[in-house]
Symmetry: C2
Subunit: 399 residues, 2 copies
Amino acid sequence: MPTISQRGVQMPSSPIRKLVPFAEAAKKKGIKVYHLNIGQPDIETPKPILDAVRHSDFKILEYSHSAGNESYRKKLVTYYNRFNIDVNHNQIIVTTGGSEAIIFAFMACLDPGDEIIVPEPFYANYNGFAVEAEVKIKTITSSIETGFALPAMTDFEKAITPRTKAIMICNPNNPTGYLYSQEEMEVLKQLCLKYNLFLFSDEAYREFCYSGSHFSAMNLEGMEENVILMDTISKRYSACGGRIGAFVTKNQSVLDAAMKLAQARLSPPSFAQIAGEAAVDLPADYFDGIKAEYQNRRDVLIAALNAIPGVFCPNPGGAFYAMARLPIDDSDKFCQWILESFSYEGQTVMMSPATGFYATPGLGKDEVRLAYVLNTDAIRHAMVCLEKALEAYPGRTSK
Amino acid sequence: MPTISQRGVQMPSSPIRKLVPFAEAAKKKGIKVYHLNIGQPDIETPKPILDAVRHSDFKILEYSHSAGNESYRKKLVTYYNRFNIDVNHNQIIVTTGGSEAIIFAFMACLDPGDEIIVPEPFYANYNGFAVEAEVKIKTITSSIETGFALPAMTDFEKAITPRTKAIMICNPNNPTGYLYSQEEMEVLKQLCLKYNLFLFSDEAYREFCYSGSHFSAMNLEGMEENVILMDTISKRYSACGGRIGAFVTKNQSVLDAAMKLAQARLSPPSFAQIAGEAAVDLPADYFDGIKAEYQNRRDVLIAALNAIPGVFCPNPGGAFYAMARLPIDDSDKFCQWILESFSYEGQTVMMSPATGFYATPGLGKDEVRLAYVLNTDAIRHAMVCLEKALEAYPGRTSK
């Protein structure tokens, strides 16, 4: 029998999905499970977006341009201009989700063995893309005590080697919700210019900023050749299944290389490009409503968490995630136990163990990520369950 | 300025798309261009498929399962059963186009430096995926004289090295239209079992067989652990823009590895999965009509080609491509010249130089690929243009 590749062996399993069987078993027992484990919002996709697809009248579902429909890319220029991001439609490649934008950046900029520095905790799927591209993610640790602020410039400098080609951030951050300040972005700029590095900036949650405003990597002056923006409509418009993202850069060599990657896979999905184009035309107040809803959820969640004895959760500035420290021995065990062996009034909670978001062994054992993608009633019920669970959990530590 | 990767440099440009500017310039001059250069059919996508999407009534465009919706995978089981391909829905991963199925196969089965043997001429984008995965495509040459039949077993054996991990075919073939016989498939089986190789079988054109019937690699007994089927709805249902394909295998280790790749990119596109599901329910006679149309186009095209002095084109058994030998010095020059410097009654033809489908330098210089994706009237006009062009072309050779 032929054997699979080492790459196939090394490819990490999703740290989030491994608990799914336990959630399914709980549901079979009749327990209601509050899903705070993944970033799939319960918010409805705006009707005009879905209607644009449903009312489309083409007769042939054709390939689009490999870079995406020109009409959509021109719309995206309008969208980015709203954030004072000055790009033209030839600097945008429409991708199959933000995921493909990340793969394009890794493939176009990095060779096997090259290194990317990423502050941890970080979005776990970056690991998978790194294995596919045979590149190495080197982490520097951000701390829950500072709310996961950017580590010091000296920490980055200690991690830089001759193989370092890029720094990668997610801003606002998944999994921490941390919103990088303009000052922190300027530190990244200094680093990238000093060490000749790319800055990969995943800005999927740009609109969801509650404390302070978003400063895009695209607005770092003098970084035009260094910055690659990875983007997606998934979270912004509750349109995760569309699989439409964007790869944006002003670096022409990178664009040319990414364009060849785009041509090899022919085109991004056509239906959802129609949705994406309609999304740019949503009324300006669309995000006000959504943002208020998420901010309210955040406020309810963070207050409830910090009211539980022994729990600490910094107040996240953006996105819809929070990382909380719990009085537990092992977050993997706890997140499984709460599904497998616990319920309160017929309910329980699914969370993501933070261990999956750290590369440094041992970190995240007393932290979990919670996605506030459910309404405030559900969040309140979930927090009651969590409090009761922490009281009952055999692996509870101190306090 | 940070520099792009060697991989980004090596990534091949699309040999088909490089002529696009010349076609656009011709159109600007008012010349009608017959597009026989790419596999984008002019046949309408079946209405029930598009209607399924247009009449969908979900409210949230959610992620699907990373392997694709279970309901769709179960439908695909029904589809494959029609070809006596006995699989269950857990042996199918829905992919973003056939392209992603190929990438998954390369990544799950091959490590950097590993080799795949592919009969040339072959689908040019395999080169791009090989560069992404850092694997090596080794070709053995099939000949226009035999209609591009499978090269001899000894040719394969000469190409096999300790790094060889797979043989890859496209059946029926793009770009040649050649339909592999059961006997030829048995030769591939012998090779794979003897040398412990994977067989990657791209069967995107399964339904379009005119001379003889299709024998799927999935039906090779004793090859359950070796065969990976790459599939797509693109050509079958004129649904190229959907970007829905499938990765199918009975090898559990390969499935597990591919599943991790699938999880990293979260899910395939949701809208087009609805289309794909509806496609399986199309009436049984759907393909009869489409097949008759393509067969008629083939007959018109091949007869017209072979009636042109100095031209030879074998009769392709399937797909909707033909490779023709022309009395020309250089197919790249000719395909550019016919767009740039020629027209007949205000019309000209766009074709793909065959050089892009060969890895061996120098091969394909007197061949072009023609996709019979246009109706017979258009094909007849295009062939008149081609005949006149060959008479006028300064680089015409003999005959």
